[in-house]
């Protein structure tokens, strides 16, 4: 250790090249030794480059090693999520670069799979891939990742990206059939919206088995001879499942907010003096408060409390939570408002909330397009009318006050 310290001092402690003669003497044994793993500048060098590294490519953290197969090396992935995975999950959940959070499609594996191991097919959205591999702790399996453009199983199937064609293509491209002798693919049940089992069978002879909806059931599914219990086949939309969607809902609002802010201040400044900056500011802040209350009611409260808010139409649920929020806004500013302004703030908050909750339909696994269209045909004219009446009342109040 003493030697090491001395060598370190002798080598790098004098970066400016002004080493004393005495130090140069101390340097002697070091210069003549091999440039190997000995400690020189700072800590010891890392291991040699892996033979799997290629120029222009990067080895990913979630790949444990590569196993050699007749179709080439197949990456074996870790079944434990690491810090980088968690950071990625958080970032995607916040809606930051969510559409680029994907992995390369192709063949992966866990454990030590052989020709009898199951094949699990999944989407190439990294969040989907992570939630699958973390459940595969006790399984030897092939994982076929299809190119869903970084979109989750359910949405990709709905957009015909997780499709019969893509599955057929990916099986052929990876030469998967050379690795297995059972010809069976396990697909998540929610891919059935885009993938037709009998067509895949007809085209490439692979039998599709519909796996469970939730990745957490996959090991039990495989252990039970690929039979899904009823509970594995049913969609749920539980409180935690709804809560994780809230940040993404909020992240969609920056653009409409950029339009809303100037409109709100313009509207609030109009008055007997044509336009008053001080009114624009003071009354504008009230409208902004109502806007924020509408967002909290429509994009946070209504989604989180969805089953408990009365009504079936989402626009109605949002109007109700928005009504509560609007009353709270009126209560905050009660000393500064006349009745016209009370009405304007309440209508405005309800309108914002109703519209946002209506848009939450797309994030749920329960709404039918026929139903959404039906409620929109009724709700949108009402929302537009509420916005107009609120704006008219708000401006009128400036002249009345």
């Amino acid at each position: 250790m003493n030697d090491v310290t001395r060598q370190k001092n002798g080598c790098c402690a004098c970066e400016d090249g002004s080493c004393s003669t005495q130090n140069q003497t101390a340097l002697q044994p070091f210069v003549t030794s091999h440039a190997s793993d000995e400690v020189c500048c700072g800590s010891a060098p890392g291991p040699q480059s892996s033979r799997h590294e290629k120029p222009g490519y990067r080895l990913l953290d979630f790949v444990d090693t590569f196993i050699d197969t007749s179709v080439g090396p197949v990456p074996r992935v870790k079944t434990r999520l690491e810090r980088s995975d968690r950071v990625g999950t958080l970032t995607a959940r916040l809606g930051i670069k969510r559409d680029q959070y994907k992995i390369a499609p192709g063949l992966y594996c866990v454990g030590t799979p052989d020709q009898d191991s199951p094949v699990l097919v999944t989407a190439n959205y990294k969040l989907t891939f992570d939630s699958l591999r973390r459940e595969l702790t006790a399984l030897n399996a092939w994982i076929l990742v299809v190119d869903t453009r970084g979109i989750n199983v359910w949405c990709a199937a709905g957009k015909a990206l997780f499709s019969t064609r893509e599955v057929v293509h990916r099986v052929q491209q990876t030469r998967l059939k050379e690795l297995i002798r059972h010809n069976r693919l396990i697909l998540p049940q929610l891919a059935a919206t885009g993938v037709s089992a009998y067509r895949v069978k007809k085209e490439i002879g692979c039998k599709l088995l519909w796996g469970p909806i939730q990745a957490e059931d996959i090991q039990q599914f495989v252990a039970g001879g690929c039979n899904a219990e009823k509970s594995m086949r049913r969609l749920t939309f539980t409180l935690p499942q709804r809560v994780v969607l809230v940040p993404v809902e909020l992240s969609h609002l920056s653009k409409p907010t950029a339009w809303m802010l100037p409109a709100v201040f313009l509207l609030s400044g109009i008055g007997t003096n044509l336009f008053s900056l001080s009114d624009a500011w003071s009354r504008g802040l009230m409208l902004i408060t109502a806007y924020i209350a509408g967002i909290l009611a429509g994009a946070v409260a209504a989604p989180v409390l969805l089953p408990w808010v009365p009504g079936r139409a989402f626009a109605l649920k949002g109007a109700l939570t928005g009504g509560v929020a609007g009353l709270a806004v009126i209560a905050i500013f009660r000393n500064d408002l006349i009745w016209l302004e009370d009405g304007a703030l309440l209508l405005f908050t309800m309108m914002i909330s109703s519209y946002l909750t209506m848009n939450f339909t797309g994030s749920t696994p329960v709404t039918s397009p026929s139903g959404v269209e039906k409620e929109m045909r009724r709700a949108i004219p009402l929302q537009a009318a509420a916005a107009l009446i609120a704006a008219a009342a708000w401006v009128t109040a400036a002249f009345a006050g």
């Binding site: 809606g95 969510r98 559409d99 453009r149 970084g150 979109i151 989750n152 359910w154 949405c155 199937a157 709905g158 957009k159 049940q189 929610l190 059935a192 919206t193 885009g194 993938v195 037709s196 089992a197 009998y198 519909w210 909806i213 899904a228 009823k230 086949r233 049913r234 969609l235 749920t236 939309f237 969609h252 969805l306 089953p307 079936r312 139409a313 989402f314 209506m358 848009n359 339909t361 797309g362 994030s363 749920t364 696994p365 329960v366 709404t367 039918s368 397009p369 026929s370 139903g371 959404v372 269209e373 039906k374 409620e375 929109m376």
Partner: protein, 96 residues
């Protein structure tokens, strides 16, 4: 989903029982348990649970099921109203 109900009487789902070959695929793929096998034929157990995802129709080998599939997403439907059905690509960021 039995414990959460959306609007009733709106789905376009239709089952032609005579054409059913009894493979049970619709019962397997439906995430809301709309179908139930009754003997050798599929039957609709919960019509209003249908969200028109189209999985059953796509996977029915005898084409006994009809449904107009789509995504129940308001912002997507607004886009189809404004831009028309073809131009309204459901982008990954703004939708699901």
């Amino acid at each position: 989903m039995d414990d959460f109900r959306y609007l009733s009487g709106v789905t376009t789902l239709q089952l032609e029982t005579e054409a059913c070959v009894g493979c049970g695929m619709c019962e397997s793929v439906c995430p809301h348990g709309v179908f139930q096998m009754e003997g050798k034929k599929a039957a609709i157990r919960d019509q209003d649970g249908c969200m028109e995802c189209g999985a059953c129709a796509l996977n029915c080998p005898s084409e006994a099921i009809r449904v107009t599939p789509g995504v129940g997403c308001a912002s997507y439907i607004i886009k189809t109203w404004i831009k028309g059905k073809d131009a309204a690509a459901c982008s990954s960021v703004e939708c699901c």
